[in-house]
Amino acid sequence: MGKTLFEKVWEAHVVKTLSGGQEVLYIDRHLIHEVTSPQAFSELEKRGLSLFRNEKMVATADHNVPTKNQHLPIQEELSRKQVDQLIKNCKLHGVELFGLGHPFQGIVHVIGPELGITLPGRTLVCGDSHTSTHGAFGAIAFGIGTSQVAQVMASQCLLQTRPKTMRISVNGQLRKGVGAKDIILHIISKLSASGGTGYFVEYDGSTIRALSMEGRMTLCNMSIEMGARGGMIAPDETTFEYIEGRKFAPRGKDFEKAKTYWSTLYTDEDAQFDSSYTFDSADIHPMITYGTNPGMGIPIQGEIPAIEAINNMESFSKSLKYMGFEPGEALLGKKIDYVFIGSCTNSRIEDLRMVAGYVKNKQKAPHITAIIVPGSKQVEKQAKAEGLHEILAAAGFELREPGCSACLGMNEDKVPNGAYCVSTSNRNFEGRQGPGARTLLASPLVAAITAIEGKIVDIEAHLG
């Protein structure tokens, strides 16, 4: 019997299998950031262990950093301490750090791919659930807890129970105004926020093949929002073209050799998945969420489900009460206060180009606060080189410096209590963007249109 893409990559990394079926999995690259690494470093120190393969680690500062005046010392004391601790730890243990001020600094899931650290066939982990992003290259990438961060530091390995496999195929031509973000919000709304738990997902089908690498990253990024360990896409010409010439990617002959290997990384025809779903692109509309988990999404011109359609009333009612919405209500025409464009889901150059392209020669609605946070220094640099910052500024958007920002509100970028924010990030949990903040997840295009109109509009009708 043939093998799935996941099985091929996984099996190439098994160091040892234990009697209970657990496997010791070798990790090719370990990414760390300031929030989930300090306790791991102290754990090692406590046990008198050193880093096993520090050359396979890369660090950045992203979660906690301000997005204004990054050249100045961090104002907030606890954030500054955490970032300083990272600098200290990296220096002491010889870990390469792309910290504040470095031209490669940025959100960990943006910089891995853009620097060519993320490659097909690799295993990659980070103490961050959206590590699933890197699966877009045909890598096995998943988020881990801090105890596991320490395990990888100590041994470059993890003890794992092999997840089940799921195939999600999406076929056909996308509708106007629909992109990768809408695809994944559509899928999660159908499978629920826990529909993928226990699985590793492979996305395939003609729609997926036609996506750019950045679109594929957006898709894989949100695999975790249906509970999946990760998502992956078989590498192809689009992948190779993206990788070639990147800073840490193999070059010349090495690249050709790598490509030959990468080209074997696909699911064999007779391979079996534990579960499969198929979606038709024609059914996917621009999406938006109305509730407090990413599974609570609807087409933007649709209605919030009526109470009769719901299984767990208690959770549903609690969620709608928090959002200030009624069952059965439409979202069209709802006034919005904030627009946040950023996060590891949608902060790459294509996202910024999309937004700038739409808002060019337009003005944001006066009551809207619109912030746009590039995913990395390199994205920021590119945006400036293309003049996007001027277009955005002219439209009333504030272009900030890179970081996670209002995606999780650890720094000062928070959405005020009760305010509505259309956000291109990945989580609409209660309080995620600040205590009492109400988040509606959407694509960069929907976010841009919302900023201009000041309210939710039917974008399909709007685009004509």
Binding site: K81, D128, G143, I144, Q148, Q156
Partner: protein, 194 residues
Amino acid sequence: MKFTKVVSTAVPLPFEDIDTDQIIPARFLKATTREGFAENLFRDWRYTKDYTQNPDFVLNQKAYTGEILVAGRNFGCGSSREHAAWSLYDYGFKVVVSSFFADIFKGNALNNGLLPVQVSDAFLKPLLETISSRPQTHVTVDLEKQFIAFEDKEEYFDINPYKKECLLNGYDDIDYLVSIKHDIEAYEASSKII
């Protein structure tokens, strides 16, 4: 941190999809040590906006205490922050019961001596009802024999045998992984991954 058996009253939290941002909001993740997370467990549910206790939240009601937390389906979804497991443990919980756990949370809990017990929906429902209406009810969780019981009801639960050994004996994955260093080096020497 050896774990064997817990007999205790239990705290009901009958919501589904309780995510890690609720268990410990992001703004409390700035610590560089593992201590002191109990204070901010379920912070935004426990306290109102003006920092007074929210009397409607179960942890603020004197009747409900214990070492066991019983929650709705898909507990611990969301981020990988291990701080969620630390704060539950730090608060005094030894066991979390649900009919479904998010993967990363489950692993994090097991790595920190907090036992996630997955039960059927048919068991969870009467359990939640019983401990809500009769908070003095004792619930037993026996890791050795892998069962959970209250009143006249009992259910067997699954746990990975390796993880069970670890919990019972108080050792962890790092100890094991460091002990197989030679296997890891042999793997590295043979790997063709770029």
